[in-house]
């Protein structure tokens, strides 16, 4: 393992824990904002300072749907971070090439895939209620990352099975 990888692993745990705390704060924050919006007089024009309904009659609903997607996204990010932390812990314990890590990587790949699909939903909603017809923000890079994660989890699973075969070989 080179120096960069060792340093990255050393700081990975506190970074993941920090990101987990920030993500929980984000999820709880937007969940509170969503629940408050149902009881607040003059929502959304009051807090925003302008009448969103004038832009599009479904804009307030679109805003709420995006917030719900944001909460779902926070839950998925939490699941991803927990699995990433578990993978980092197995490296620290000295035995990362196990089938459990391949399964964790597979869950992470599915998580990133769902996050990307949710992002497309947000783009579609924004295009429908705010900027009609403007469907921007698509990028190939996240999809490439999803593909790479699925390939890596497959490679990891195969490697872990090969290693399991070697254990008990004399």
């Amino acid at each position: 393992m080179n120096t960069t990888s060792t340093q990255a692993l050393a700081i990975a745990r506190p970074i993941i824990q920090g990101l987990t705390a920030l993500n929980i704060l984000y999820g709880v924050g937007i969940a509170l904002l969503l629940s408050t919006s149902f009881f607040m007089q003059g929502w959304p024009e009051g807090p925003l300072g302008f009448d969103l309904v004038k832009m599009h009659p479904l804009a307030p609903l679109g805003l709420r749907v995006i917030v719900v997607i944001g909460i779902i996204g926070a839950v998925i990010v939490h699941l991803i971070l927990q699995r990433l932390l578990a993978i980092v812990d197995t490296v620290r314990d000295g035995d990362p090439f196990i089938l459990e890590n391949a399964q964790r990587l597979n869950v992470i790949a599915w998580g990133v895939l769902v996050l990307e699909v949710l992002r497309l939903f947000v783009i579609a909603i924004a295009a429908a209620v705010w900027e009609s017809g403007r469907l921007g923000g698509f990028s190939f890079a996240p999809w490439l990352a999803v593909l790479m994660l699925f390939v890596l989890s497959g490679v990891f699973a195969h490697g872990a099975r090969m290693r399991a075969d070697l254990i008990g070989t004399v």
Binding site: D165, I167, G168, T169, V170
Partner: protein, 73 residues
């Protein structure tokens, strides 16, 4: 596993201990113990060759198929 390892019998017939065999074949005592107790999942040809050379036997003398033994999960 339905494969039986007869290392114990071979060592007994040659009045040899597992420690002596380990020294002769350059295989750790722990690994030979795993083999002797039938806990090994696989055996390398190089290990088989070294044991057969040290004990002057054939692979068939060391390993046997016993259908009575439970198959591997």
């Amino acid at each position: 596993m339905a494969i039986a390892v007869r290392l114990d019998e071979l060592l007994h017939a040659r009045r040899m201990t597992l420690t002596e065999l380990a020294a002769r074949v350059d295989i750790t005592l722990a690994n030979l113990s795993i083999l002797k107790t039938g806990k090994a999942k696989a055996i390398r040809f190089s290990t088989l060759e070294a044991i057969c050379a040290a004990l002057e036997c054939q692979p068939g003398d060391l390993l046997a198929f016993d259908p009575v033994l439970p198959a591997e999960e």
